[in-house]
């Protein structure tokens, strides 16, 4: 909401500086987003508001009068003005088309009042797009010297208008600094959804009056002529009071729509509206001033439609498929939740949103029927959003306008119409008010104020604060009974009303004055949160293992995920997804099912930026559940590893590439560090992985997820280099649930171990894990460590064979192991390997 300061001052005295004013309003919930100076000087004090705009130099920009408009000797599109600026008479050059009608008429009988800028004045350049500051300099235009100018609105920063110059109202005093005559500032105030009552000059003034203690005042109405009574000239029929609680009509006859006085046009522009003509401008002016949107009908059109009889205005829901051409010229197809203003001949306007084309006020209109009504906010909101029609009226009605405003707004508007357009205002109004609301009465005790705000206020203090906002208050003992004033709908009943009042009290008392405490209420029982703790531990472990954490979009598309999910070979049917009804783009149209697909995209994007790619993410995937509206959201862990094992350095130029065992090692270390019980990694196959380089991580019999090298055909779908891409995706929910809250450790051995190496030759097909498991079984408790340190293939051991070399540690907890004992264990191990695997010892 744009609030011109001059207008606000008509309703309440303001003795604050602009920054002080903005601060008070902001701290009361009327956030001043920006202040635009339209003539007034820039405040000198330090402040924290965005203040822009133009200050008019009082010596250089003044009111002047044009006494004669003369042709330019060398240019048809320029004129010379004889102008008096209060000091002297001079000749000023201009190309303003709105002076051309006066060209060559000799001395004007009624001089034109204009805004005149002398040499050196700081102005906006009227010929450049946007607002560019410039200083008025002496030049020669087509042989005529020019050192000053008459200004357009754009040059003074009032609006974008720069076609013609400003013609001021006749009462403008010649020679007066323009800033004193009409210098202004516009406050851009963000109106909160529950403060629509402040979306008017009166509304802001009322809040300001409550804040500063200055009285609220109503500017006097202009004098106007009265006509015959409205009685019998129009009737109202409301079919559903829930949709239309009140409808008021007023009548003015004999108007002549014309341009409004300049000060009215300027105010409308400063407030962000375009002046149309004096009749339409009056409706907008009063809406901005009082907050009640009004609508003007051409009365004669209604008479004609009613066959010459007085019209009956009927409000009702639209019928399915009914049509209306709104005054923007668009034919609208309506729905039953949209409310119509009709007459006996059919629809006239879309209630609370926009008028119809047929009955709109034109230059030819002579008699005006003026509507001030109240509409159901939900219906207005739905209709405006379905028709994509936003208007100042819809904005206000959709948030709730109190029905008590209507008659006053109609009366005030008719007075301005008469003052600006001529005509006689018919005596009285037609007022249909089938459903007056009961303004709530709220009881609030001192104890309740204390319980909500933590500050002790006496009943009288509370009542005083509320009275400033026009609540009618009674204090009974420790309880305040407050009646909501008849201009606001945001205060509820019962406990909600209490909360609403508490907010008003806190706002006026000042949030900054409230004390600062920590809760004295008992602390709830604190819970153990092992899953959350394990999750953070997992992050730390993975970071420590050299992986970069990433967080990716949860929104993706089936096509993006198919790059990973579709098997290397064979058919692929995309799975069921949580789909968006209104995606911003096709590539963000579903909720992801694969976390790894997202992390692979990250690796791919970074492939050219880093020789070593090592990423992980812990996050949810979204799996639709048959027969249920809401999906399952299990947590996943995804890892991607590719490129060099470690970054090259000055003395290690070509590090080896990471392979399956780097990834496996990370998962092993992770499982160990988190103390995952009975974990093991076993060969397995997965459709998108290399069939010979893939495995599954288990804890006991529970499968936690897969790991492996991406299948070459799958990898070809991505833009990766030649290095293998290693991936893993684990069920993080399951993994974290297995992390024990406590675990036990072994004592440090006291007696020395016996350490020896053995190498066994087995068939190529025998998995190393099986060899180790047999060694461990046979070795028993005394075998405390088995470490594979070499795998060898070669002629010496024969084709189809491999040699596995182990470093074994034997140790007893209670004595020093003898060589004989160690030899016994070794023999047992060798025997078992020979028997089970046909292995032989390699000497």
């Amino acid at each position: 909401m744009k609030v011109p300061l001059s207008w606000l001052k008509e309703f309440v005295e303001i003795d604050l500086s602009l920054p002080e004013l903005a601060y008070r309003l902001t701290m009361a919930g009327l956030e001043v987003e920006e202040i635009r100076l339209v003539g007034l000087p820039m405040p000198a004090e330090a402040h924290e508001f965005k203040i822009e705009g133009l200050s008019w130099d009082p010596d250089k920009i003044v009111v002047a009068q044009i006494e004669e408009v003369m042709p330019h000797p060398n240019a048809d599109r320029l004129v010379l003005c004889r102008l008096y600026d209060g000091r002297e008479t001079l000749t000023v050059l201009t190309g303003a088309p709105n002076l051309f009608p006066y060209k060559g008429q000799g001395p004007l009988p009624k001089p034109l009042k204009v805004a005149y800028a002398r040499e050196g004045a700081r102005l906006y350049d009227g010929h450049q797009p946007g607002f560019v500051l410039t200083t008025l300099k002496r030049t020669k235009i087509r042989g005529v010297e020019s050192f000053s100018m008459v200004c357009s609105e754009k040059e003074l920063g009032i609006s974008e208008e720069h076609e013609g110059i400003i013609i001021l109202d006749d009462d403008a005093p010649v020679g007066m600094p323009l800033v004193d005559y009409m210098g202004d500032a516009v406050l851009e105030i963000a109106i909160l959804p529950n403060m629509i009552r402040a979306a008017s000059i009166l509304g802001v003034a009322r809040e300001l009056a409550a804040l500063t203690g200055k009285p609220l005042r109503q500017p006097p109405l202009p004098p106007f002529e009265r006509g015959a009574s409205i009685e019998g000239r129009a009737a109202i029929q409301i079919t559903d009071p829930d949709l239309n609680p009140r409808f008021v009509l007023g009548l003015i006859e004999g108007v002549t729509p014309r341009p409004s006085p300049y000060w009215v046009q300027r105010r409308l522009r400063l407030a962000g509206m375009r002046p149309i003509n004096s009749v339409v401008d009056a409706t907008n002016y009063v809406m901005l001033m009082l907050g009640e949107p009004l609508h003007a009908f051409d009365y004669d059109v209604l008479l004609t439609r009613a066959g010459g009889k007085p019209p009956t205005i009927i409000t009702r829901p639209a019928r399915e498929g009914e049509r209306l051409t709104t005054l923007d010229g668009v034919e609208r197809t309506l729905e039953p939740y949209m409310i119509l203003v009709t007459d006996t001949a059919g629809p006239l306007s879309l209630a609370g949103i926009m008028g119809g084309l047929e009955s709109e006020v034109t230059e030819a209109t002579r008699n005006v029927l003026l509507e001030g009504a109240t509409w159901n906010p939900i219906n207005v909101r739905r209709a405006a959003s379905a028709l994509r029609l936003s208007s100042e009226a819809a904005y206000r009605f959709a948030r709730g306008v109190h029905p008590a405003l209507a008659p006053e707004a109609v009366r005030v508007c008719l007075a301005y119409m008469a003052a600006w357009s001529g005509g006689r205002v018919a005596e009285g109004l037609v007022d249909a008010y089938p459903k007056p609301p009961v303004d709530p009465e709220v009881h609030l005790s001192e104890a309740e104020v204390r319980r909500w705000l933590g500050v002790s206020l006496r009943g009288e203090e509370v009542a005083d604060l509320l009275r400033r906002l026009e609540f009618a208050c009674q204090v009974q003992g420790e309880t305040v009974i407050a009646r909501v004033p008849p201009h606001r709908l945001d205060i509820g009943e019962g406990v909600i009303g209490k909360a609403d009042l508490i907010e008003e009290i806190a706002r006026l008392y000042g949030y900054d004055r409230l004390p600062e405490t920590l809760p004295a209420d008992p602390l709830p029982q604190q819970r153990n949160q092992p899953l959350l703790q394990a999750e953070e531990a997992l992050r730390d472990v993975l970071v420590g293992l050299g992986l970069q954490e990433v967080v990716t979009y949860r929104l993706t598309s089936p096509e993006r995920e198919a790059r990973w999910l579709a098997p290397a070979e064979g058919d692929y049917t995309p799975p069921d997804y949580v789909r968006l009804a209104n995606p911003i783009a096709p590539e963000r149209s579903v909720m992801r099912r694969s976390l790894l697909a997202a992390v692979l995209e990250v690796a791919e994007r970074n492939a050219r930026l880093s020789e070593r790619l090592a990423f992980f993410e812990i996050g949810p995937v979204f799996l639709p559940l048959p027969g249920q509206d809401l999906p399952e959201e299990p947590l996943r862990l995804a890892l991607v590893l590719s490129g060099v094992r470690h970054l090259p350095a000055w003395d290690r130029a070509e590090p080896p590439l990471a392979d399956f065992f780097d990834l496996k090692g990370i998962l092993e270390e992770m499982a160990e560090a988190l103390h995952v019980p009975h974990w093991r990694i076993e060969p397995a196959s997965y459709p998108s992985l290399h069939p010979g380089k893939s495995a599954v991580l288990y804890s006991g019999e529970r499968e936690l997820g897969y790991l492996g090298e991406v299948h070459p055909l799958v990898k070809a779908r991505y833009d990766f280099g030649p290095a293998p891409v290693l991936v893993a995706e684990l069920d993080a929910t399951a993994l974290l649930s297995l992390v024990p809250e406590r675990f036990e450790v072994q004592g440090v051995p006291v007696y020395p171990p016996v350490i020896e190496d053995i190498a066994v030759v087995v068939d190529e097909s025998v998995p190393a894990a099986q060899v180790e498991s047999i060694i461990r079984q046979a070795g028993g408790k005394m075998l405390t460590r088995v470490h594979l340190f070499d795998v060898f293939r070669g002629e010496q051991i024969g084709a189809g064979k491999k040699s596995l070399a182990y470093n074994l540690t034997y140790q007893a907890p209670d004595h020093t192991l003898t060589d004989a004992e160690a030899a016994q264990i070794r023999q047992k191990i060798i025997r078992r390997l020979e028997q089970t695997l046909g292995a032989r010892l390699r000497s």
């Binding site: 909600i496 609403d500 706002r507 959350l532 009804a581 911003i584 992980f616 959201e633």
Partner: protein, 346 residues
């Protein structure tokens, strides 16, 4: 004169040995010298072996002198050896000198995502005030995201959130973590509550440097019989001072949220310019960091708490926004782009 003769020989022996020692410059020469002057066949040793043949009267005198010479030579040997060791060490150290300005060999260490870092700080600060993490789902029902939070269908406040809807009617991507308020209240009523609710939220927006379609929010919720607006103020100011520094000034500005009343926005004095106004705070000197307020009676009711008996406060903040302020990040798109050149800086 015999005695004089032996003594004289010892004196000459000592002088010659010490003189030769001065020329010794390495370990081998030192060993040779030791053999020559202190070895079994050294002249000094021969004097010792001849001692018995000397007359009784001179024997003590010559013996004493021979011992003196032996000690002197041994001491000189030790001193020389030490000097040689020291010189050798010096040479070795000199030859091993590195160019320590060459880069170090860095172990590969990953980094946490910036969002995780900020989230942890926030969670930690609130944990010390007794607020524990509570998580809830991201794909939500309209009821939990809007209706139960005092926003029935067509409520104008719904305009504050641009929402992603799913193709299942009544199911959407949560626009804030507030649905978790209802979940946790329904789970715990009538017990008091102090939780924070972190998590990903979604908004239907065009992606730009300033806005993203997904963002992390942390919501704070306290419910009890005696929770006041002053408690809200104290708790959030404590939080702000711990996150932005002890000297951080804050202010509460009235605002509107459908699920709180009274509602406020909390601003912290711009720590980039100290409140003087800069591009980060857009000239205002203040940075908006969170929205907050007293839990609306309707929300308490929907959560299973009698609003005549219970009160509460709630606050919500954007994790990426706070991260951007803390690290002067100018483009929110960096967060989900996951460019290593960005991530590796944390």
């Amino acid at each position: 004169m015999d005695d004089v003769l032996e003594i004289n020989e010892l004196d000459a022996l000592q002088a010659r040995a010490l003189q030769e020692l001065e020329a010794v410059n390495d370990e081998a020469a030192l060993q040779a010298w030791r053999v020559a002057h202190l070895g079994r066949n050294a002249p000094l040793m021969q004097i010792f072996s001849r001692l018995g043949q000397l007359p009784k009267e001179v024997r003590p005198q010559v013996g004493q002198r021979a011992n003196q010479v032996k000690q002197a030579l041994e001491a000189a040997l030790e001193e020389r050896a030490a000097a040689l060791r020291a010189a050798a060490l010096r040479r070795a150290l000199e030859s091993e000198r590195l160019d320590v300005t060459l880069p170090g060999r860095r172990p590969e260490l990953g980094r946490l995502h910036p969002t995780t870092r900020t989230l942890r700080r926030i969670v930690h600060i609130f944990a010390e005030m007794g607020f524990q993490v509570y998580r809830s789902r991201e794909v939500e029902s309209d009821a939990y995201n809007f209706e139960l939070l005092n926003m029935p269908a067509h409520h104008p406040a719904r305009d504050l959130w641009d929402t992603f809807y799913t193709t299942t009617s009544g199911v959407l991507l949560r626009t804030h973590t507030s649905p978790g308020q209802i979940h946790v209240m329904r789970e715990r009523a009538p017990q008091p509550i102090r939780v924070i609710l972190p998590g990903m939220c979604y908004r239907y927006e065009q992606i730009s440097a300033r806005s993203e379609i997904q963002f992390n929010q942390v919501e704070v919720l306290a419910v009890g019989r005696n929770i006041t607006f002053s408690d809200l103020k104290g708790t959030l100011n404590t939080f702000a001072r711990r996150l932005f520094g002890e000297q951080a000034r804050t202010r509460l500005r009235p605002s509107y949220f459908p699920f709180t009343e009274p509602s406020a926005e909390m601003d912290v004095e711009c720590f980039v310019c100290g409140g003087k106004g800069c591009t980060v705070c857009k000239g205002s000197g203040w940075l908006e960091i969170l929205g907050c307020g007293m839990v609306h009676p309707t929300v308490l009711q929907n959560g299973g708490y009698d609003p005549e008996e219970f009160g509460g406060f709630a606050a919500g903040m954007g994790v990426e926004r706070i991260t951007m302020l803390l690290h002067r990040i100018e483009d929110i798109r960096y967060f989900w782009a996951n460019d290593v050149r960005f991530l590796s800086q944390f």
